[in-house]
């Protein structure tokens, strides 16, 4: 559920899209299975000012990935300020006493580097990818903006317009994303995960410089930050630079415990539906409120990951085989589990009806698959295959320096530990069919869920055909 800040235009992403990308509105969670079991030699320590440091070696190319993660996200925002965490992420590029507005990215570029940032419900992260001998430079820049952000309305007002355009691009122009936003808002009755990371337009348009500075002063401080360096560099080299740039920073704030209103026990199944002329393919999706990796009982989150894999991940899953291949009820369908947030996770399924079938047909068929799992569990063979596939993912993850840095950075930012990441494969291997059955029985209850239905609607007037001519 990342709302990516800064540049987000993928050239030709659509023209070259392949068939399997037809999944509506669930892209991020589905796209990246987790890889917490990472066979890498991680160094981890905490400075006197509370700042945590993680070093991950990857000596294959002479480059580094440098990230700063702040343990603050959209779920930590004050009332009435939805979107301030993400807005501040944009404004962090607007300069300090030493660096002019917009200059940071240009300095990184002039040194052959790339930079960006992203915000989730639980964290905000900034990164640079650059030649290894520029680590000194980018650490200096990040340490500077951790302590010395300066903002003027000249920068804040146009950037607020940019964020509003970002919201229109991501959400308002896309009915599937609008419905997802409504579904999440219904899943959480009280907990702040109900807010979209980018914020509601009604509040985003009123955010001010003072709002941003107040949020910055409260949350952007050494003890609330995690620095991750992955790449062609030794822990000793990193330590020298960390001592130079980050160690001298005073801890200027105590953000305190991350107190968020817990969800009351779910007692009512919810349904949201939306009809929109822009909907070409009706879809049904259901989200169940679950524990996250951090809040789950031992092996419970692993069990939900394995369950989602068996039931709904890819063309060999039960849902795809049954609904898409055998019964031809759905064009596409699947299930997923996202346990990577701090307080709660989500188990979800989705499907789109095949020609001649209805959303109700798809929903009933999806429920039948889950009922079968609840009654009979999964087979030993399915369990072994799911474990094999998920463990292989953690080997593929080793090929991406950025992904390695992200896995460790996000884990620490949501309150997990390095050890949690590194023992994930042991926990996964130890998870049994009984664990899965128990987790399914606990989580897959209709009163824990929201079902979202996206339907087409007639157009008020037919869209005009494009009229083209040459002058």
């Amino acid at each position: 559920m990342l709302a990516e800040g800064q540049l987000g235009v993928a050239v030709f992403n659509r023209l070259n899209a392949i068939i399997m990308s037809a999944v509506v509105g669930l892209a991020l969670v589905l796209a990246t299975p987790d890889a917490r079991a990472l066979d890498v030699d991680v160094t981890h320590y905490t400075l006197d000012n509370g700042l945590q440091v993680v070093v991950i070696p990857d000596r294959r190319a002479p480059v580094v990935t440098h990230m700063v993660w702040y343990k603050v996200g959209a779920a930590d925002e004050p009332r009435g300020k939805a979107g301030i965490a993400h807005f501040l992420e944009h404004l962090m590029f607007k300069g300090t006493d030493k660096v002019a507005p917009g200059e940071l990215s240009k300095i990184v570029k002039r040194n052959g580097g790339q930079d960006n940032a992203f915000t989730s419900t639980d964290y905000t992260a900034y990164y640079q990818r650059i030649a290894r001998d520029r680590l000194d430079l980018v650490m200096g820049l990040e340490a500077d903006r951790m302590a010395n952000l300066t903002l003027t309305d000249n920068d804040v007002i146009p950037e607020r317009a940019v964020v509003q355009e970002e919201r229109r691009s991501r959400t308002d122009n896309d009915p599937a994303n609008l419905l997802s936003e409504q579904t999440v808002a219904s899943l959480y009755v009280a907990h702040p995960y109900r807010k979209p990371v980018i914020g509601w337009m009604s509040e985003v348009q009123k955010l001010t410089r003072d709002d941003a500075m107040a949020f910055y002063r409260q949350h952007y401080t050494a003890s609330n930050a995690i620095v991750v360096v992955a790449g062609d560099v030794t822990p000793a080299e990193v330590r020298t630079l960390v001592d130079k740039h980050y160690a001298p920073l005073a801890n200027t704030a105590e953000p305190g415990e991350r107190l968020r209103t817990p969800e009351p026990d779910p007692i009512a199944a919810r349904r949201v539906q939306m009809a929109d002329p822009r909907v070409a393919t009706p879809t049904v999706q259901r989200y169940y409120l679950t524990p996250s990796y951090r809040t789950a009982a031992p092996r419970e989150a692993e069990a939900l990951d394995l369950l989602a894999h068996v039931v709904g991940d890819g063309t060999t899953s039960r849902i795809y085989r049954k609904l898409v291949v055998e019964d031809k009820i759905a064009t596409f369908a699947g299930a997923w589990y996202d346990g990577n947030s701090r307080d709660y996770g989500t188990f979800g399924f989705y499907g789109a009806p095949a020609a001649g079938k209805t959303l109700e047909d798809v929903e009933a068929a999806l429920e039948a698959v889950l009922r079968d799992v609840l009654a009979n569990g999964i087979t030993e063979d399915e369990l072994a295959r799911a474990k094999n596939a998920m463990l292989a993912e953690s080997i593929y993850a080793l090929d991406s320096q950025f992904r390695l840095a992200t896995v460790f950075g996000s884990a620490l930012a949501i309150g997990a530990t390095i050890e949690d990441v590194q023992t994930w494969d042991d926990e996964l291997a130890a998870t049994t069919r009984d664990d899965i059955k128990a987790a399914a029985a606990k989580v897959l209850k209709i009163e824990r869920s929201v079902t979202g239905l996206l339907k087409p609607a007639p157009r008020a007037t037919a869209a005009a055909q494009p009229a083209t001519t040459q002058n």
């Binding site: 540049l7 987000g8 235009v9 050239v11 659509r14 023209l15 392949i18 068939i19 399997m20 037809a22 294959r60 190319a61 002479p62 480059v63 590029f93 660096v99 990215s105 570029k109 002039r110 052959g112 790339q114 650059i130 030649a131 001998d133 520029r134 430079l137 200096g140 820049l141 146009p158 950037e159 509003q164 355009e165 229109r168 691009s169 122009n173 896309d174 822009r278 909907v279 070409a280 393919t281 890819g314 060999t316 085989r321 291949v325 064009t331 596409f332 292989a392 993912e393 090929d399 991406s400 008020a460 869209a463 005009a464 055909q465 494009p466 009229a467 083209t468 001519t469 040459q470 002058n471």
Partner: protein, 450 residues
Amino acid sequence: MKATANLMARLRVCILAVFVCAVSALPAAAFEIKQVTSPGGVTAWLVEDHTIPLIAMNFSFAGGAAADPTDRRGLAHLLSGMLDEGAGNLDSAAYQARLNELAMRMSFGAGHDEFTGSLQTLSRNRDAAFGMLKLALSAPRFDARPLERIRGQVLTSLREDREDPETIAGAEWMRTIFRNHPYSKRAKGSAEGLAAISGDDLQDLTRRLFGRDTLIVAVVGDIDEQTLERLLDDTFGALPAKSQMPVVPKAAVSKGPIVTVVDRDIPQSVIRFGHASIKRNDDDFLIAYVVNHILGSGGFGSRLMEEVREKRGLSYGVYTTLYPLEQAGVFFGGAATVNARVSETMDVVRAELKRMAEDGPTAAELDQAKTYLTGSYALRFDSNRKIAGQLLGIQRENLGIDYVEKRNDMINAVTLEDVRRVAKRIIDADGLIFTIVGRPKAVQSSGNQG
């Protein structure tokens, strides 16, 4: 037969940053590309790296969606979705189960001019994974049931595309500039074209398309030359020697100014703009690449990003790109803004393109572009997958096995005179083709006889 290129190319970066000024002496890429030719005559570029137990392979054949029969639009794209749906004695379910068991990743894609594939495997499953690819290429089944299923998925995706503003803008812009040329058509094809395609059509395409004479292969990771030579023969050796794909005709491109508005009731208009440009084999291509970087491809700091986003808050993203195809090159860009500000955004884009064409980049802009483009080149080579992708592209464009070594020197050799001359040559602010999807205020299509 082996040809070796030593890739210890040096970054010659003079740092302009405010904080440091040091001369870097890092290799852009600390690896060696070997050209490997199997006993059967299949050639690949190989980078051996045994650090992690993975192998990545990318390959391509000449001929893609632009060569689809006119009554079978979408054929190559449908093939890309059907190759993993059963082969040899494995039906779709058995084939997919085996892919899953091997934890391998295999995908295919149809571009306008080429058909591409990629394979990633854990070292321990190497031979079995290559065997699965061989089966897909040489004995695909195209059984009726999976064919209907995948056809249905493409049709669904086509329907969704018709409502997606970004996709509509891109497709309509291509239709406007390429008119009746195959490049004007979506690779996914049309409902009519898809309906006409049979399993025999797909079989016929594999026999025409998978010829060893146009095959290009790049392999990176935990594999040595001898093993690769054997696997190249095993995997590709039995394919037909010659490709029999039709030649795509040269493309005539529309000239602007043209403005097309596609009416959609959405709060934000999606804008696509551009015009004809040069091809990859043009002597000025690399210079044009530098010009485009300064104008609009470099993210923050590009002229368009500064003027459209940073100063005016008009759009979350704004970009330009060179898009060279085999039979024509084009240049295009995009932005998205609230309906009321479309006209203003178009004016800013026109003004910036005009300024670039007339005055060209400044000396400072050129220097900064060089340090970025040369310094960041190594970031394209920091994983097996990325290296394989780069090596495939370099081979497809015939740039030479020493290109990685020479490329930064070529960028550094670009002069201010070069970029000014080429900016004038490739940018035509008055001849822009705009496609706008939304309900823009005070912007109309430039004619009505469509």
